[in-house]
């Protein structure tokens, strides 16, 4: 009886590891293409043993590609120019301008697009959460760019139906560490969603991520930069 149970547990583990290996590849259900399974990390905390055939996951039509997000003002994996930093000149200004951003066509089935700019290092109040420096929420799927200097709070500059927020304001705030401090890492993340989000105008990063969960039409696109020690 004991050995049968052990065998069963082992079998479930192997199946789980297949599932997890498949799930690591993609984030959400595509309109067509392979079936996507969300991993359950807590169920597979055991060494993987045995081999076996590889899961049959091949990219095909409708496979959720990662959208590409870039800026004409700086390189991916580069340094954010100082003009986009909040206190580059030792907190003289809190009115940085937002950088220009462009991205590729979202996957089919996308109803809204969210841009989030995140400071990865900062923790406030001893909490592990990253800091939301900018989010533009509920952009229509036809949106392919945000122009430089999107004015804080004024939805007139945003695509119809969209609004913006940061952890401190109703618009872009940008990096906080001054140019003389150690560099931080910043992410511009692009989420393509199957619905319009119903979140408050002062939504936090945690609330935003919770609202997004389960509604992505493909992988999130990521643009990576540092600021500000070597920024110009």
């Amino acid at each position: 009886m004991m050995s049968l149970r052990r065998w069963l547990v082992g079998f479930v583990m192997i199946v789980n590891s297949f599932v997890a290996a498949t799930a690591q590849r993609v984030e959400n259900t595509a309109p067509s293409g392979p079936t996507i399974i969300v991993p359950k990390p807590s169920s597979v905390a055991e060494p993987v043993t045995g081999g076996g055939p590889a899961p049959a996951v091949q990219p095909g039509p409708g496979y959720p590609r990662q959208p590409t997000i870039r800026s004409s003002a700086f390189d991916d994996y580069g340094w954010l120019p100082l003009k986009y930093a909040a206190n580059a000149a030792k907190m003289v200004t809190f009115d940085p301008i937002s950088p220009p951003l462009v991205w590729t066509e979202p996957p089919p089935g996308t109803v809204s697009v969210v841009l989030a700019m995140i400071d990865m290092e900062t923790s406030s109040g001893g909490n592990p959460q990253d800091r939301l420096l900018w989010a533009v929420i509920n952009m229509p799927p036809s949106t392919r760019l945000l122009a430089e200097n999107t004015t804080r709070g004024r939805t007139a500059m945003l695509p119809a139906g969209a609004f913006q927020v940061s952890y401190l304001t109703n618009g872009y705030i940008g990096p906080l560490p001054g140019a003389d401090l150690q560099a931080h890492h910043y992410l511009f993340e692009l989420y393509t969603l199957d619905k319009t989000l119903e979140v408050p105008r002062d939504v936090t990063l945690g609330q935003l991520k919770t609202a997004i969960r389960g509604h992505q039409t493909g992988q999130r696109g990521v643009l990576v930069v540092r600021c500000c020690t070597n920024s110009k």
């Binding site: 590891s17 993609v26 200004t93 109040g125 003389d180 150690q182 002062d202």
Partner: protein, 197 residues
């Protein structure tokens, strides 16, 4: 905009205190994460991937036994730090590696910590896991038909060890750390495996 306006904005929205904004102006060196084998913002060497130097589109379970973690070190630890958690997650929040309850006196992890928690290479009292193993699993060295895969390394300095089980999920670990960071996180970003060698 002057400081008063910022203060009132902060109060109005009820988010983020001005105290923490001002604290960030301190020039105290911040916690720094580095590695003699891996460079921040550069591709992870293939040796640390699931299949070593043999790229494949999909890695069958079991092949990950060959993966070794890179050596990692850190410095400028905030005062009051009694423990660390190191997390490696990919850009879609897959838990690639968690080393939980590293003692506060430790400043480095060696290369090639074996799966399981018995090895003397693992700091005393710590445990490690990935989303599907109890140790380093490493990126799948696929050719990434769906685009670049990005891996985030984050070191969390904590005022105490976490009371979480050894099969704790990423969400479990993040929740347990609430309110216990002694300062900013330290971060490295390594894409893999397009461009890796």
């Amino acid at each position: 905009m002057n400081l008063n306006m910022l203060l009132s904005l902060g109060l109005m929205i009820g988010l983020g205190s001005t105290g923490s904004v001002l604290a960030e102006e301190s020039t105290t060196p911040q916690l720094t994460l580095s590695s003699p084998a891996v460079k921040d913002m550069e591709p992870l060497p293939l040796k640390y991937s699931q299949t070593g130097t043999r790229p494949s589109i999909v890695v069958p379970p079991g092949m990950n036994n060959e993966a070794v973690n890179p050596p990692i070190e850190w410095s400028n630890v905030p005062s009051g730090t009694n423990a660390f958690v190191l997390l490696v997650v990919d850009h879609i929040d897959t838990l690639m590696w968690a080393v939980v309850n590293i003692p506060g006196s430790v400043r480095a992890l060696p290369e090639g910590i074996p799966n399981g928690n018995e090895s003397s290479k693992l700091p005393a009292g710590a445990f490690h896991r990935s989303f599907r193993s109890n140790g380093w699993i490493g990126p799948a060295a696929r050719q990434n038909p769906e685009g670049r895969w990005t891996y985030y390394w984050k070191l969390y300095p904590l005022d105490k060890k976490l009371n979480v089980p050894e099969d704790a999920s990423l969400d479990d670990i993040l929740s347990a750390m609430e309110g216990h960071l002694t300062g900013n996180k330290a971060v490295m970003i390594t894409p893999c495996c397009d461009g890796s060698k």
